[in-house]
Symmetry: none
Subunit: 218 residues, 2 copies
DNA sequence: AATTTATTTTAGGCAAATCTAAATTTATTT
DNA sequence: AAATAAATTTAGATTTGCCTAAAATAAATT
C-alpha cells in the first residue's frame, strides 16, 4: 500500500483539503490556489478521480474521498513537522519556514517522518499555530486564543501566527513582534475592532483587526 | 546566479562527477549508473552541454566544466550533510541513510543547507567516511590510499592510476585492471615489497612494488 | 424565460525525460 | 586493411503536467 504520488498530485490533494474546508470547491478556485489554469486542474481532477483520491464529475464540485483525506493529512503532517524543525532547530524566521517546508514535504519516507517526529518530541502545533496530525493521521484540534479575543491587561506570549501571508509577516517583523514576544491588550476600540497593545517593556502599538485575528497568544 | 536545475539534471551531474574520478567516462557507463538507456544519456548530455555544465561532443568522452564541478560539489555537500543528520540526529542505520538523502539532496535552498551545516557543527565526513564539501565547495581532500598501503583481505575498487606512463598502462591493460576493477590484497612479500592480489572473481596476480604504488584504491 | 456572461471542459499542442529501433561511428579481430 | 562486433547517436514515440483556444455547460441578468 505504499503508493507513490507525484509532487503535482500531492500539491493538488493538499490544496483541495485546505480549500474544501467548509464549502464546495470549484475548479477555478483550485487552479487559482495552485497558480495553474482551470484546464490544467480539470486534467488533474480526472487523474485524481482515477486514483480514487477524490469524487468529482464534470461541472460538479470536488470532494476528497477517505483515501484522499488520509493522504492530505499525511502531507500536512510532513509539512508541519518540517516547519517545526526549521524554526525550532535551525532557527529560521517564521516567515521563511513555509517555502522550504513546501519542498521538504514531498520526501515521503514514512520512517523518516516518524523519526523526525520523535526527535522533535511529538510537537502538537507548528510555528503558525496549526495542529500537526499524528502518525495515524489524527489531527489534534486545538482551541487557539487569538489576540482579538484576549482579555485586557493580561501579559500574553505570542506562540504562533495563523497566516502564511508574507505581507503580514513582514509587518510583524517591522514592529518587532515574533514568536515569544510578550504582548498585552490595553484598550479595545469597538469602532473598527482594532486594539491598542503594549509590546515588550514600554512600546505601545495600535493593531488592526486583521492583525489581531492572526496573532495566537497564550 | 541562482539557477535551478531539475532533479534529473542534478542526478546526471552527480554521477558524472563520481564516475569521472580519474579516467574518461563513456555514455554507457553513465546510463548504467543511472538506470537509464544510453540514448537517454545522450539526450541529457546535449542539454548539459547547452547549459555549459559539461564539455562533450558526439562519440567523445565527458568532462565536467568548472561550473559543472561546482554544481556537483554542491549536490554532494547537500547529500552528505543530510546523511550525517539522518545518522547522527535521527539514528538511522548506516545503510538506510543513502536512499533518503538521495531525495533530500534536491531541496536546494542554500540557506537551509548552511544552517543545517552549522546545526551539525560543520562535520567533516559523512557516515560512510566520505568528506563533506564546505559552503565554498571546497572538499577536504581525503588522502589517497595506494594499493601498496592497503589492508589485507579487504575488497577495494581501483579509482585512479597515479601515473601516465604508457608502459604501466599497457601492463595494466594486459592484466585487465582498469578503473572500477575490484581488487583485494592477499599476501604481502617483505622481500621486494611485492604483493599477491585477487582481481575480479578468482584471478590471482603477483604485482611489483612499482605497480602497487601507482594504483589508487578505495 | 430568453439572453448574456462566466465558468468549466474538451481538443490539440508543447517541453521534459524517458523509451525502442535503426543508423552511424568507433573499436576489435581476423 | 577489411570485416565484424560493440558502443553511441539519431529518429520517432510515449507519459506527465502544463498551456491556449474553442466548445459546452451553468449562472446571472434583463
Amino acid at each position: 500500500m505504499l503508493t507513490k504520488y507525484s509532487v503535482a498530485e500531492e500539491n493538488y490533494i493538499k490544496s483541495i483539503f485546505h480549500l474544501q474546508e467548509g464549502g464546495a470547491l470549484s475548479t477555478g478556485a483550485l487552479s487559482g490556489a495552485l497558480n495553474t489554469k482551470p484546464a490544467s486542474a480539470t486534467d488533474m481532477l480526472k487523474k485524481l478521480k482515477e486514483k480514487k483520491l477524490i469524487s468529482w464529475s464534470p461541472y460538479k464540485s470536488i470532494q476528497l474521498t477517505a483515501k484522499g483525506k488520509k493522504l492530505a493529512l499525511d502531507i500536512i503532517r510532513r509539512h508541519r513537522l518540517w516547519e517545526f524543525f526549521l524554526s525550532e532547530k535551525l532557527h529560521f524566521e517564521w516567515d521563511e519556514v513555509h517555502a522550504i517546508a513546501e519542498e521538504l514535504e514531498h520526501v515521503s519516507s514514512k520512517k523518516l517522518i516518524d523519526k523526525l517526529d520523535a526527535y522533535l518530541h511529538f510537537p502538537q502545533v507548528d510555528p503558525h499555530g496549526d495542529p500537526i496530525p499524528d502518525a495515524q493521521g489524527k489531527m489534534p484540534h486545538q482551541e487557539q486564543l487569538r489576540l482579538a479575543q484576549a482579555p485586557l491587561n493580561k501579559p500574553l506570549r505570542v506562540v504562533a501566527v495563523a497566516s502564511q501571508e508574507i505581507k503580514l509577516l513582514e509587518l510583524l517583523k517591522h514592529f518587532d513582534i515574533k514568536l515569544g514576544t510578550m504582548i498585552e491588550v490595553i484598550k479595545r476600540f469597538d469602532f473598527d475592532e482594532s486594539i491598542e497593545v503594549k509590546v515588550g517593556k514600554n512600546k505601545t502599538l495600535h493593531l488592526s483587526e486583521a492583525i489581531t485575528k492572526s496573532l495566537i497568544v497564550k
